[in-house]
């Protein structure tokens, strides 16, 4: 019997297999950032261990960095210590680092692909759950905890249990105004936040093939929100073209590509689970609750918890409505927004900024709405400025910031206030995620832009 794409990559990376033990998997690349690495480097020091492969490791600063005044000393001393600790660790252990002010500083999952270091057939880890983003290139990429970060630093391997495989077939073509973000929000609403638990998801089908690399990254990025270990997409000509010309594209491109071309699921391979989604009928999607599975098409209304049969889900919906300050039956498009956040590893790439800019160009932001535009990396920021997008955003009334995770997780000063409501292109609408008491609706860049114009959740079709 044939193998699935995930099985092929997994098997290519087994260093050691023993009955009853997890597979020892070789890791081709580890991405490192300031928040989940300090304790790992400490562990190495305590045990007198070295980083086995500094040349398969790269660090950047993103989670806890300011997006204003980036060249001044960081105001918060605890944040400053965390950034300084990463810089010192990188120096001590000989790891490449891209610090604030450097063109390749930015959200780790934007930086890897833009450098061409993310390639098909790799195993990629990072102490960050959105590492699944890199699966868009046909890699097995997943988030790990700090103990595992230390393990990979020390051994370049990770003991891992082989996940099950799930195929999600998205067939058909998206209507104009419907994007990769809407596909993944619809998938999570369908299978739930635990639906992917224990699986590597392979996204397949004509609608996935039609997506740009940026769109594919958006889909794979949120695999974790469905509980999946990882999500991936078989590489194709778009993937090869994207990598070609990037700084770390293979020197022997032909040899690499001939391997990459073997990376697909065999016709006779069998997935543990298969799910199909119709792309033709998809609409712009938005979340109403406090987990990414609580989403609906933008044309729908806030659901009534009383209609939910499952008692756990009903209780969760009741709590979510209370937290979100919403009343059942309210049309989603009537919900007024205070803040629009455009950015993150989900939607902070150049294509996302272009999409939002195309909607707002020549228009003015709604009164009392603030919009933060945070490019995913410094390189994305520079590219956007080259195209004049910064001016489009600033003329519209948005704030044009420096690169980082910013309001996606509200670790730096970019946070929502208590009760403040956002339309956010990020990935998590958890309670307090974007600031204590803040309320988040997850949306695509197009919906974010239209919402900033109207002040209520909207799609470009409503303009």
């Amino acid at each position: 019997m044939g193998k699935t794409l995930a099985e092929k990559i997994w098997d290519d990376h087994i260093v050691r297999q023993a009955e009853g033990e997890p597979d020892l998997l070789y890791i081709d690349l580890q991405l490192v950032h300031e928040v989940t690495s300090a304790q790992a480097f400490d562990g190495l020091r305590l045990a007198g261990r070295k980083v086995r492969r500094p040349d398969l490791t790269i660090a950047t600063e993103d989670h806890n960095t300011p997006t204003l005044d980036i060249l001044k000393p960081i105001a918060d001393p605890v944040s400053k210590l965390q950034i300084d600790t990463l810089r010192n660790n990188a120096k001590e252990f000989g790891i490449r680092i891209h610090s604030l002010g450097d063109a390749d500083q930015g959200v780790v999952h934007v930086v890897g692909p833009q450098l061409g270091i993310t390639q098909p057939g790799m195993t990629i880890v990072c102490g960050d759950s959105h590492t699944s983003t890199h699966g868009a290139f046909g890699a097995i990429a997943f988030g790990i905890g700090t103990s595992e970060v230390e393990h990979v630093l020390a051994t370049q391997t990770l003991p891992s249990r082989r996940p099950k495989t799930m195929a999600i077939n998205v067939e058909g073509s998206l209507k104009p105004g419907v994007t990769a973000k809407d596909i993944i929000l619809a998938i999570i609403a369908q299978i739930g936040t635990g639906g992917g638990q224990g699986y590597i998801i392979e996204y397949r089908g004509s609608a996935i093939r039609e997506l740009s690399m940026e769109g594919r990254m958006t889909v794979c990025n949120m695999s974790i929100e469905a509980g999946a270990r990882a999500g991936l997409i078989a590489p194709d000509q778009k993937t090869f073209d994207y990598i070609k010309g990037k700084p770390h594209a293979p020197e022997d491109f032909a040899a690499a590509q001939s391997y990459w071309e073997t990376l697909f699921t065999d016709a006779d391979a069998k997935f543990d689970v298969e799910i199909t989604l119709d792309a033709n009928t998809l609409e712009p999607f938005v979340t109403w609750g406090t987990n990414p599975g609580q989403g609906l098409p933008l044309n729908a209304s806030v659901p009534n918890p009383a209609d939910i049969k499952d008692s756990e889900e009903r209780g969760a919906a009741e709590r979510a409505l209370e937290y979100m300050g919403l009343t059942a039956g309210t049309p989603l498009k009537k919900i007024a927004i205070d803040t629009v956040f455009l950015g993150s590893c989900t939607n902070g790439r150049i294509e996302d900024l272009r999409a939002a800019a195309s909607v707002i160009e020549g228009k003015k932001i709604a009164p009392k709405v603030r919009m933060l535009v945070v490019p995913g990396s410094e390189r994305v920021r520079q590219q956007a400025m080259k195209e004049g997008l910064d001016k489009v955003f600033i003329d519209f009334g948005a704030e044009w910031r420096n690169a980082g995770c910013s309001m996606c997780l509200g670790m730096n000063p970019d946070q929502l206030a208590v009760g403040e409501r956002s339309a956010s292109t990020s990935n998590r609408n958890f309670e307090g995620r974007q600031g204590k008491g803040g309320r988040t609706h997850l949306v695509s860049p197009l919906v974010a832009a239209a919402t900033a114009i109207r002040g209520t959740l909207s799609s470009p079709a409503d303009l």
């Binding site: 300090a38 960050d128 370049q156 969760a316 995620r433």
Partner: protein
């Protein structure tokens, strides 16, 4: 890592599903560069509510957290495990854990026990009726016991052995350095490296 063989303590009922790691410890508490001191951030948003279970006198000192399904979803932050441990929890019981959280907990010696939702419900009822009910979690027999009830749970032999011996994963892997060397010797040359830097 400390060995985990058996633990007896009182339970804390957390009747919520989808408790994500941002709830367990919000990002603003992740700035420390140590593994200790995270207890202040544990469930911080909910700790302001006097009715929240951790604020109730009858559950003070509880060491077994009994939570709803989909516990630990979201961010990979191992700080969530440290916050629970720093606070004093030794065991978390739920019907479903998110993968990364579960992996982190078992690496760090916080035992996560998966029981059917009916069993979780029964424990909730028992500890809500009598908060000082003692719960014993025995890794040797892979059972949870309280009052006259004993429920079995599953945990693979390898992980159980590692926890009971308190073994360091890295130390175990380094015994196979020869296999890693051999693997690296035949790795394809076109695989990317981060050094030397190319711009």
């Amino acid at each position: 890592m400390e060995k985990f063989i058996e633990h007896t303590g009182t339970g804390v009922p957390l009747r919520r599903s989808n408790v994500d790691t941002d709830q367990i410890i919000p990002a603003v508490y992740l700035k420390r560069v140590t593994r200790s001191g995270f207890e202040d951030g544990l469930f911080s948003a909910w700790r302001n509510d006097p009715e929240f279970v951790l604020n109730k006198d009858e559950y003070k000192g509880g060491t077994v957290l009994v939570a709803g399904p989909e516990f630990g979803t979201g961010s990979s932050r191992e700080h969530a495990v440290w916050a629970l441990q720093n606070y004093g929890f030794k065991v978390v019981i739920s019907s479903r854990f998110a993968d990364i959280f579960r992996g982190n907990s078992l690496k760090g010696g916080l035992l996560t026990v998966i029981l059917p939702q009916e069993s979780v419900e029964a424990i909730w009822q028992a500890i809500e009726a009598t908060p000082n009910t003692e719960i014993t979690v025995d890794l040797d027999t892979r059972t949870v016991s309280y009052n006259d009830v004993t429920v079995a749970f599953e945990l693979d032999d390898y992980t159980r052995w590692r926890l009971m011996e308190g073994l360091d994963d890295i130390g175990l892997t380094l015994k196979h350095t020869d296999s890693i060397d051999a693997f690296e010797a035949k790795r394809a040359s076109y695989k990317p490296t981060t050094l030397p830097i190319r711009i």
